[in-house]
């Protein structure tokens, strides 16, 4: 039996759809709980709605490359399993690498090797599933304790907390940004970074000057598009 018949078969579809439906349900349950609590602590409903709209609009753009990866991975892995893997934890790079490791461990050249058969495909599914779940496992065992411990610590240090989370956040962003801004060989990335930076500042200024708050509210998706567009312009102009 050709493994693609299994990979594109009904059983595969039903199993993957079950996981994905549950993931959607989980998101709904969390949103409901947070919404209720938000209303309780007095966060304005319109503000929560705006935050939701902003998150929804922004998330479309980073989802697009995932769509492309879905189509790319489907060629060798069938359409349903990549659909699942990219909907839950994992990334295009990880899935490709994991499948490739299995193919090579089975003596093949890669996942496109004609020798890729049903047992190897099944093994790839196992490995791809097991390799990436550890963040979830950590949460199951330790997140509650971490949360309790840090909430206690916060109570005694409440004034330092905004400084603390600010410092943590800037630390994270600094480490993420540094490889791009120091890579003088890849000027496109630097151009994108700077254009988005200018755009986000401009969004704030224009919103203030014009009174159009929406510009500031959507500054992240706007600046992201400006940064990405400038990469296209720069590539074609130089």
């Amino acid at each position: 039996m050709n493994y693609l018949e299994v990979a594109n078969g009904n059983l595969m579809f039903i199993m993957c759809a079950l996981v994905i439906l549950f993931v959607l349900l989980q998101a709904v349950l969390f949103i409901k709980a947070a919404w209720k609590r938000g209303a309780e602590v007095g966060i304005d409903r319109t503000i929560m709605k705006k935050a939701m709209t902003n998150a929804a609009v922004f998330s479309v753009i980073p989802s697009l490359p995932i769509v492309v990866m879905l189509v790319v991975l489907s060629v060798n892995l069938g359409q349903y399993f990549p659909w699942l893997r990219l909907s839950v934890v994992g990334s295009a790079a990880y899935e490709n690498m994991a499948a490739d490791i299995v193919a090579k461990a089975s003596g093949l050249a890669g996942i496109a090797d004609p020798g890729f058969d049903l047992p190897i495909f099944t093994m790839a599914m196992w490995v791809m599933s097991i390799g990436i779940i550890w963040g979830i496992v950590f949460n199951i065992f330790f997140m509650k304790s971490l949360d309790k411990f840090s909430k206690k610590a916060k109570e005694s240090n409440s004034h330092f907390i905004p400084v603390l989370s600010g410092a943590l956040f800037i630390g994270l962003l600094a480490l993420m940004s540094a490889p791009y801004i120091t890579d003088t060989k890849n000027t496109i990335a630097i151009v994108s970074f700077l254009s988005a930076a200018v755009a986000v500042v401009m969004c704030g200024k224009v919103a203030k000057a014009s009174g159009l708050k929406a510009i500031d509210e959507f500054s992240l998706p706007i600046s992201l598009i400006v940064g990405m567009a400038s990469a296209i312009v720069y590539t074609n102009a130089f």
């Binding site: 949103i31 199951i140 905004p162």
Partner: protein
Amino acid sequence: MNNNSDIERSRAFDDKINNLGRITSIISLALMISVPLAVTIFYKIQINIAEIAAAAGGLIAMFAPMAIVENISYYPLIGAGGVYLSCITGNIMNMKLPSALSGMKLAGVEPGSAEGDIISIICIGVSSFVTVTILMLSMFIIGKYITPYLSRPILQPAFANIMPALLGALVTPFVLKSLKVSVVPFALSIALCLALGGKFVQRYGSYFLPLIMLASVFAAYCMYKRGMLAMKPARQGGTK
């Protein structure tokens, strides 16, 4: 704001989120594993557990420590609820974290505050929903039609540079707001990249993350103690 029933309610909410997080994580995990399991059983495939363990072992050795470090690092920013949710659907750095942080900025609440954690759950939940929906639509209907457009060579630089563009947009308002706090983490990160090469730092970023975060907090703490950080009263914007 600080009477007992408020504290109790806030604890009750934390417990609810942690229980919800644990239960849904266990179920998702079981469901994820059930996919290969169902195929193995249904098609009567002989699997070699030793081979699977060997192949998965390398990945686990690489990804498990990374996942743990990342979860602990993301927790103060997006709260327990945010971490539970984003670990299930992934794409944390390029989607979940930015949408939560921009939601908090929009709502005028600080990351790490009770209000911040609430907004973060809402934003991350919506973000998960959008990605899953887009992927579902892509698989069934639009994927075939939009992929040729999305894979046009002219668009490639744009998709290749999502991360730097996203970082530029995210980092700038925060750096402008807290210039002093930014000096140490940026100086250290840039020094690391110059010394070890950006690719190396990117690849093992998760391992440098605690170092940079701790240094950043330590520097901020020193400045805070010396009164160098103009302390605004803890912001309560967006709440009554």
